[in-house]
Amino acid sequence: MIDYNKTTNKSVLENLTFLIAQEFRQNPIRYDDNFNGNTYFKLTPIEDEIIDIRTNGAIREYTIEIQYSERRSGRYTRRSGLDNRVNTVERLKEILRRATASIELFLYYLTSDGKNFLTSDGEDILITRRPLLITSQDDFLITSDGKSFAVYPATYTYDFHNARLESVNYDLESERPNYLTATAEFKCLVEELYA
């Protein structure tokens, strides 16, 4: 069996799931419609396409459909039916705008005077976007002495770049009549080396 990278799932889908889950902690993230809660996101891989072929690798563009659904309640008005969807999508656009290059890292950290960082629960630390740091248990990291930190060694694992929400549609009709939906198209580039 050849060695290969699980790029679509690991670099794109799981990473996107993580970014959304961090911001929208109350909303479950699903990959199907088998859910009856009030609000949820559904992620569906749509396609990937070759952008550039390298001597020993390739750049591909991945497309994931992000659908936000919220249960209808009462008579449709702008306030009950539209505002919350609009706000959710705008918030989603903002977190993706800030995470255009996704960097994931499990490494050592040193404060500016050379002391190691320790997490209170012994869990790994994950960088989502410098300088935002959280532990793997979703706790934010605060230094006790307010000192700045440096990453050591300064190497990163790369996931994707040029991430953006290409289009958003506030659906007039939904496959599930009990729900109002907004559908967005997420695109990102991934450079993969075959070496």
Partner: protein, 147 residues
């Protein structure tokens, strides 16, 4: 008297492609059905889609060939991300890498193709009613052959 010729699509593309897939994935069923047929829980349907003249000289020509691979997978039980989605997309990534590693393919030192690549993967293809039982992904394979 009949001319001597080489069946390029068969000898340089279809046969090497099938043997490359089978060398990596073992006895994976590969079928060439035009119309969809149930062929088990996991199989690939290959449909030649393109044979295009790319460059032409007096002595030879470079042609671009295209194959559509439709991967079918059926898993029992309720939907789960791992069973119903992750395994299929990991499988697709493995095919992409296999073709990437063999973009200039010379099985047993015999030239088959060059610039082979999976140009596009579609995880949401249009399906006939009979295909709805399966998780399906389309892959477009393209390669150049010097004829």
């Amino acid at each position: 008297m009949a001319s001597t010729y080489t069946s390029v699509l068969k000898d340089n593309v279809l046969d090497p492609f099938e043997s490359l897939l089978k060398s990596e994935f073992g006895k994976i069923p590969i079928h060439y059905d035009l119309e969809f047929k149930h062929r088990g829980n996991f199989f690939i349907r290959v449909i030649p889609t393109q044979d295009l003249l790319d460059e032409f000289t007096t002595e030879d020509q470079i042609r671009t060939y295209g194959l559509l691979l439709r991967v079918y997978r059926r898993t029992p039980g309720p939907y789960s991300k791992e069973q119903s989605l992750t395994q299929l997309i990991n499988y697709i990534d493995r095919i992409k890498r296999l073709i990437g590693n063999n973009s200039n393919y010379r099985p047993d030192s015999d030239y088959a193709w060059n610039d082979g690549v999976i140009t596009r993967v579609n995880y949401q293809p249009d399906l006939e009613d009979k295909e709805q039982l399966y998780q399906v992904a389309d892959l477009l394979f393209n390669c150049n052959v010097l004829v």
